[in-house]
């Protein structure tokens, strides 16, 4: 029988604990809108199956950084990104990368719920269809049901899948958008203030959802609500004037941050 020594077991456990796997790597990321520089050499890695919250005052660059992660900035005229951003080690700004493919792997949920003016079913089925993820109606039905279940919306809409998505309440619309994002089985979900247009109950539902989604997805969320960042994330990155001020365990950031700017921001003080 092969019995490991106590020290060897401890070492193995230790390695597992300290073995952090990064889903996305951001190295010296700078973003320019024309002549204006919006991000300054940001080095920020996103951990796998972790919720990372990006916080900071308006105009600090947190949304800009979020948008570099699935090349949403490509659509903005005069926007230029330098540095390296990698998904599973592959540079996503490499010319060989198919952006549509990338955005299927790195999905996004926006601030305002933006369902297509189509049925609830079609809203969810659209992505899988254009990416050819379903062979036939039975498979598509299964994807739609599973996605709506993952988004915690299935029970509320299962009897009216053919009704318009825009007829749902704000909170339901946002969960529909989350269902739409997860329908293409992305690996990373980016959320840009997903709850800022929702009431407290709908917000709590989305937060509960984020907590559940974390098991299968890597999530990066931009939020203006300090309490929300503290509640939903495990890692928090604080941005200020285009710089990454600090990134650490969320518990640490909200109890005893290292940087005075973070301290002032989370406590609602001005330095």
């Amino acid at each position: 029988m092969n019995i490991l020594s106590e020290a060897a077991v401890e070492k193995a456990l230790d390695k597992k604990m300290n073995d952090v796997s990064y889903k996305m790597i951001g190295q010296d990321v700078s973003v320019y809108y024309g002549d204006k520089r919006a991000l300054y050499d940001v080095n920020l890695n996103v951990r796998e199956n972790t919720v990372t919250a990006l916080i900071g005052p308006s105009g600090c660059g947190k949304s800009t950084f979020l948008r570099t992660l699935n090349r949403m900035n490509d659509t903005i005229d005069g926007c230029r990104v330098t540095g390296r951003i990698a998904l599973d080690g592959d540079d996503i700004y490499d010319p060989s990368i198919d952006v549509v493919e990338l955005r299927a792997r790195v999905g996004m949920v926006f601030q305002k719920p933006n369902p297509f003016p189509k049925s609830i079913y079609e809203n969810v089925a659209y992505g899988p269809r254009i990416h050819g993820l379903a062979r036939g109606k039975t498979e598509m039905d299964a994807i739609v049901e599973k996605s709506l279940q993952r988004a915690g919306l299935w029970n509320e809409v299962k009897d009216r899948l053919q009704e318009s998505g825009t007829g749902l309440s704000g909170g339901q619309q946002q969960r529909l958008c989350i269902a739409r994002a997860v329908a293409v089985s992305p690996e990373v979900i980016l959320m840009d203030e997903p709850c800022s247009a929702l009431d407290p109950i709908a917000t709590a539902r989305v937060e509960e959802l984020i907590h559940e989604l974390r098991a299968n997805f890597t999530i990066v969320i931009v939020t203006h609500s300090m309490q929300q960042a503290a509640r939903v994330s495990q890692r928090t990155a604080m941005f200020h004037l285009g710089n990454l001020v600090e990134e650490n365990d969320t518990d640490k950031i909200f109890t005893n941050p290292d940087d005075q700017r973070t301290q002032d921001y989370i406590m609602g003080r001005f330095g």
């Binding site: 300090m226 109890t255 005893n256 301290q263 406590m267 001005f270 330095g271």
Partner: protein, 239 residues
């Protein structure tokens, strides 16, 4: 605090807590000083005054707790703001206990009246009280200045009080063995000495809380202890 809140009334709420703690500290200090003076001078009227003052601290503690709950509810404080509020709640509880110990000491004044406390014993108690009161006074100063160094120094000085308490304990034991009629007053005095020694412990707790409020960490290492009374036994009377 280096900076102020964007919402200025938030600062007012925190200042209210600080002010009330300082007031409680002043009242507790006065109560303990009066209780010990009443004890060594067997002044029943002064003792009565101390007893009736305790309600002031009870009320203050309750008001501080209510304000803390409201502020947490409204502001959802984080980081050092949260520690400031938690610290105020903890310190208020410590000061309320100090008041109780002062009151208990004052109550015993009536019981020891007329027993003729030996001068030496009274001096011992006074000295113990001086040290405990100094601890209390200094820790309240540290609360105002938030000097981490001083908070650490106070915490490390508690063993002086413990040492004097241990010697008083021995002395009282000796008196009781000398004459059984001393047992009643000496038992009361023993409780008084213990009360005062406990006040020193509360001052030390407050020092630790202030350290936590300022740094977010607990002070490292065990606090020094020199209270050996738990294992003290009276010598067998010689045949």
């Amino acid at each position: 605090m280096s900076s102020t809140h964007i919402v200025s009334i938030y600062d007012e709420e925190l200042k209210y807590l600080t002010r009330r703690i300082s007031e409680m500290g002043g009242t507790a200090e006065q109560m303990v000083a009066d209780a010990v003076r009443a004890l060594v001078t067997t002044d029943g009227a002064l003792a009565q005054k101390v007893i009736s003052e305790d309600v002031v601290l009870d009320n203050a503690e309750r008001q501080i707790n209510e304000k803390a709950v409201l502020t947490i509810t409204k502001r959802q404080p984080v980081s050092s703001d949260l520690r400031e509020i938690l610290g105020a709640v903890r310190i208020a509880a410590e000061l309320e206990r100090v008041g109780d110990l002062g009151k208990n000491t004052a109550k015993r004044v009536i019981a020891v009246q007329g027993s003729g406390m030996p001068r030496k014993l009274a001096r011992g108690l006074e000295h113990l009280a001086e040290l405990a009161l100094m601890q209390l006074k200094e820790v309240l100063d540290v609360y105002a200045t938030r000097s981490i160094e001083k908070a650490k120094a106070i915490r490390e000085r508690d063993d002086e009080i413990d040492a004097i308490y241990t010697s008083l304990f021995r002395e009282l034991l000796t008196y009781m063995m000398e004459d059984p009629r001393n047992i009643t007053p000496c038992t009361h005095l023993l409780f008084c000495a213990k009360n005062i020694e406990r006040i020193g412990d509360h001052a030390t707790n407050i020092a630790e809380t202030i350290y936590f409020m300022a740094t977010g960490a607990q002070p490292e290492g065990e606090r020094p202890k020199d209270d050996n009374t738990a294992s003290l036994v009276a010598a067998e009377p010689s045949a």
